[in-house]
Point group: C2
Chain length 149, copies 2
Amino acid sequence: MPGQHRWRKRFAGHVCRWTMPREAILKLLSQTTKHLSAKEIYSALLRSYPGIGLTTVYRTLDLLEKTGMIKKFNFRQGESRYEFASENKPHHHHLICTSCGKIIDYSDFADEELELVDKSAKHLAEKYKFLVQDHNIEFYGLCQQCQKD
Amino acid sequence: MPGQHRWRKRFAGHVCRWTMPREAILKLLSQTTKHLSAKEIYSALLRSYPGIGLTTVYRTLDLLEKTGMIKKFNFRQGESRYEFASENKPHHHHLICTSCGKIIDYSDFADEELELVDKSAKHLAEKYKFLVQDHNIEFYGLCQQCQKD
DNA sequence: CTGATAATGAAAATCATTTTCATTAAAAAT
DNA sequence: ATTTTTAATGAAAATGATTTTCATTATCAG
């Protein structure tokens, strides 16, 4: 696969130009399982792409989110965090440690969850005439390490 | 019930003084079903309590959250929103319109949800040694009005 | 290869929230 | 009831995340 332009076609209709920052940010996010913030992405890229601007990171993240190539999360307050959205990555949710901020992805009980979510969405659509497009489930608590402290 | 000091006892152990801003903010939140932001609370109180400071609103909201008297929510980005937490108010979740920001409380399927949540929490505790303390479920989409626009 | 203009980066602006600090006011002690 | 202690307040400044502005640069259509 021609790395340089692997995602290029997905940009059709959204923007015209395939640039270095866009390639770099998408590549970085596609290669990590972490939920990076804009500033973390900026710092990580400074090595391979000195001169990149934080502004561009924000703009690119917005763009990538609009195209559906990444997902944006706002856990409690603080910075937004971003994760690569791949078709072969299963739908999942997050387990967030309120002490250290550690985030664990989980997709257990996905079937049952999906069933309940579908049923709820259908019900809510009828009751409130609300068109459900997305949902979000999060668990908050303490990770193993933080339970000891 | 002596309105002025209705909630006073709940402050024992947390703070020493029961003040006008605390009474005013708690009263306002207890009387609305809306999910108000700090600034909205500040604006609403300016009428009945001119001179109140936005700083105090933030500090009081933090305090009330710590005592468990209110809950804080961060829907996607923007301001945090607060809601009065009453024992007789059922556990509920939110339906958020991504276009106009309208928020609908819902508690349908609470039993099934609770069952799934409990099961998940137990499972996650075992698998990741994670101590689940809280969870959050949200649906995003378009409200009836915004579907037309 | 070249021109049109989308994308960039630096700096300034914005927005929500927090901190600082001198003043005020609960409520404990007198 | 009055004084004293110190927690709580409000104004202003500081912070942190994100967005906007704008002159410059670089992509890519012709």
